[in-house]
């Protein structure tokens, strides 16, 4: 455990039973016929200065969770407590006052930067919206931010297309830092980058965390990178968290059958290990979140449920239980 987590144990963010359902309309009168349960009862907390990794495959609801934490979606149910205020039900003007404290870094640095704005204008935009800085002060602040993310101050009048992917991601990070936030939601920040550039960006994120005491919700499908950066990890599947544990425990002794399968599917860059690995190969595909299975959402693909044929798996949603200190699973059968 890194010292940051021990030094400040207080929770910055506490998400309780968060649900985000998107309505489906169909038929002649566009009547509501159902819901896509993108996030369906998710609870976790993030301590100040900590990095919580949120992993899962496409469509599991990890990005939706990340966006809901910043209230970019209005939750269907549940609470998002930032410090001790539930931002899920805050009126718009109060929410706006909270926004500077929570920021986001997006996946695609190409799409998230306005191609018609200069780097300086992009980074200064949050300052114009949320502070009363004069033009001169803003310019100084932008220069300072460029230093922080390792870009040259000369870039201030250039446009996003003049930069490489890694540099663009640095611009996105500088923008997120502009208002000195406490929490940053990083939504797949390195997925669009090449291997040799990924390491640069991850190192930068870690440096900034140490220097500025940032708290990260790090959303990624890259388990080996999450292993490197996260203090605790939550594994999502079909809108629910399957397992949540400190990084060490999750990777050394995963308890949920889905976590086990997920970890065993990650290719390792070592032919000797690859040759002798026992893979848990999941069959089938992820069910539709509009019509999730009864009981445990993983039961249709779960090797353990198949083997034991336990009735509970197919009928009762599993309880969220602490299987070992700090290690939580949602599974009837995990031991």
């Amino acid at each position: 455990m890194p010292e940051t987590a021990i030094a400040a144990p207080e929770a910055l963010l506490r998400v309780e039973d968060l649900k985000i359902h998107f309505p489906i309309y169909d038929g002649l009168f566009r009547r509501k016929v159902g819901d896509v349960k993108a996030v369906d009862g998710v609870s976790f907390e993030i301590k100040r200065g900590e990095t919580l990794g949120l992993v899962g495959e496409s469509g599991c609801g990890k990005s939706t969770t990340g966006r809901a934490v910043l209230r970019l979606y209005d939750p269907t149910a549940g609470a998002v407590n930032f410090e001790d205020r539930d931002i899920a039900s805050l009126p718009a003007n109060e929410m706006r006052a909270m926004r500077p404290r929570m920021q986001m870094i997006f996946q695609d640095p190409q799409a998230s930067l306005n191609p018609r704005m200069t780097v300086g204008a992009i980074i200064a935009e949050p300052l114009m919206e949320h502070t009363k800085m004069s033009a001169g002060e803003r310019k100084d602040k932008v220069a300072e931010l460029l230093d922080q993310v390792g870009l040259s101050r000369d870039f201030i009048n250039r446009f996003p297309h003049e930069f490489s992917g890694g540099q663009r991601q640095r611009i996105g990070i500088a923008r997120a830092l502009a208002l000195d936030p406490d929490l940053i939601v990083c939504d797949e920040p390195i997925a669009a980058l090449d291997v040799s550039i990924q390491a640069q960006v991850v190192n930068l994120l870690e440096d900034l965390q140490h220097r500025l005491g940032l708290t990260y919700l790090f959303i990624s499908h890259d388990l080996s990178m999450v292993r490197h950066i996260a203090d605790r990890v939550a594994v999502m599947y079909l809108g629910k968290i399957m397992e949540l544990a400190p990084m060490g425990k999750l990777f050394a002794s995963p308890r949920h059958p889905y976590t086990q399968a997920l970890l065993s599917a990650v290719p390792v860059a070592d032919p000797k290990i690859e040759a002798n690995r026992k893979r848990v190969i999941l069959t089938g595909d992820v069910p539709s979140p509009a019509n999730p299975p009864e009981g445990c959402v993983f039961c249709t693909r779960c090797p353990l449920a198949k083997k034991t044929n336990d009735k509970r798996c197919f009928t009762i949603p599993p309880e969220w239980r602490e299987i070992e200190q700090d290690q939580f699973v949602a599974c009837h059968l995990a031991e």
Binding site: E57, V195, A199, N203, A265, P271, A275, R277
Partner: protein, 345 residues
């Protein structure tokens, strides 16, 4: 899967002398743009032995896809232009044969699997139609026989109730299923060579694991040679016999899979392997990163393209582009550090 390692060392030793199914010599491809020629592929040579799986690893812009597209002239020309090289296949030079013959080889003796199964399948035709197309074009099967064979192929790639699903359209399949359909199409005419370009990149890890198992399985059953293009060093470690690492439009290192991961010789390969986070044990304090950016390929290579980012670069690296030096019977590295004359002197 202990078979994997035994096989790879055996394959590289035994098959080194067999006649290759595909041999590429000194391939050079440029793109003519309004800002001048971009030298995407700069003298790539490799050979593919029967039954072998050759992994081609590199980052975006390293020239791995353009190399493979050049083999079958799948690039739009212009702007692309193949400046030189030979592609020996079946006693012919594929760069010299006419369009008609080339069409017969594409999807016939050489099958292709592309990265994105959604955009490479035609959304307005059924999956059955698309699998039957090569069967009817290349093998001249009639409709009924083609349909029968198509159902067999879908079953081979692990799609349940195959004969019914032939009537479905691509959007009715999930990503992993679509990739299985792509594999079925590529395998339709029993190819000698299968080229898979980032075939699992768009897929989730658990689905990627399924597809990789499938490829391993099909290889045992059908015995075709495979070129597997990827940026993922983990995937290659699990399936390849030999690996070519590309950078700046060149192969910078060429080795058996065991050699490459045990004893990488080229500074770029070493750096690339070091950037990966650890998969067990204590995690690293900081990730090792490769400083700088991918090379600019506008203009022919005058020096080693990796020199500006290389820790061990010296004057010679900045003046002269090194040739591929032989390190072992299989392993080769394009780096001046391997120059024996210098080492001895």
């Amino acid at each position: 899967m202990a078979v994997g390692t035994v096989r790879s060392s055996k394959v590289s030793a035994e098959l080194e002398n067999a006649a290759p199914v595909l041999s590429v010599e000194n391939l050079e491809t440029v793109f003519l743009t309004s800002e001048g020629a971009v030298h995407a592929v700069n003298g790539v040579s490799f050979s593919l032995q029967p039954g072998e799986l050759l992994g081609i690893v590199g980052e975006s812009g390293s020239g791995k896809s353009v190399t493979m597209m050049s083999l079958l002239k799948l690039l739009p020309m212009p702007p692309a232009e193949i400046r030189s090289g030979t592609v020996g296949f079946d006693g012919k030079d594929l760069l010299q044969v006419d369009q008609q013959e080339l069409r017969a080889i594409r999807g016939g003796d050489i099958g292709f699997i592309f990265q994105d199964p959604m955009t490479s399948l035609n959304p307005v035709f059924t999956v059955g139609f698309q699998i039957m197309e090569p069967l009817r074009m290349h093998l001249g099967l009639n409709k009924a026989n083609a349909r029968k064979r198509a159902a067999e192929l879908l079953e081979l790639v692990g799609i349940p109730s195959a004969s019914q699903r032939l009537r479905d359209y691509p959007h009715q399949f999930s990503g992993g299923m679509r990739q299985r359909v792509m594999i079925a199409i590529a395998l339709a005419c029993d190819p000698k060579v299968l080229i898979a370009d980032e075939a699992t990149t768009a897929l989730d890890v658990t689905v990627q694991a399924q597809i990789i198992e499938l490829i391993k399985d099909l290889r045992e059953k059908l015995g075709m040679a495979i070129i597997w293009i990827t940026h993922d060093l983990g995937v290659v470690a699990g399936i390849a016999d030999r690996v070519a690492v590309m950078y700046g439009g060149q192969i910078v290192e060429y080795a058996s899979v065991a050699e490459l991961y045990d004893d990488p010789r080229h500074p770029y390969t070493k750096a690339l392997l070091q950037t990966l986070p650890r998969h067990e044990g204590d995690r690293m304090e900081r990730l090792v990163s490769i400083p700088g950016q991918a090379p600019n390929l506008s203009g022919p290579l005058q020096a080693c393209p990796f020199a500006p980012r290389c820790e061990s670069a010296h004057d010679r690296c900045r003046q002269e582009n090194p040739p591929l030096f032989e390190v072992s019977p299989v392993q080769k590295s394009r780096c001046w550090l391997e120059d024996q004359e210098v080492v001895n002197a």
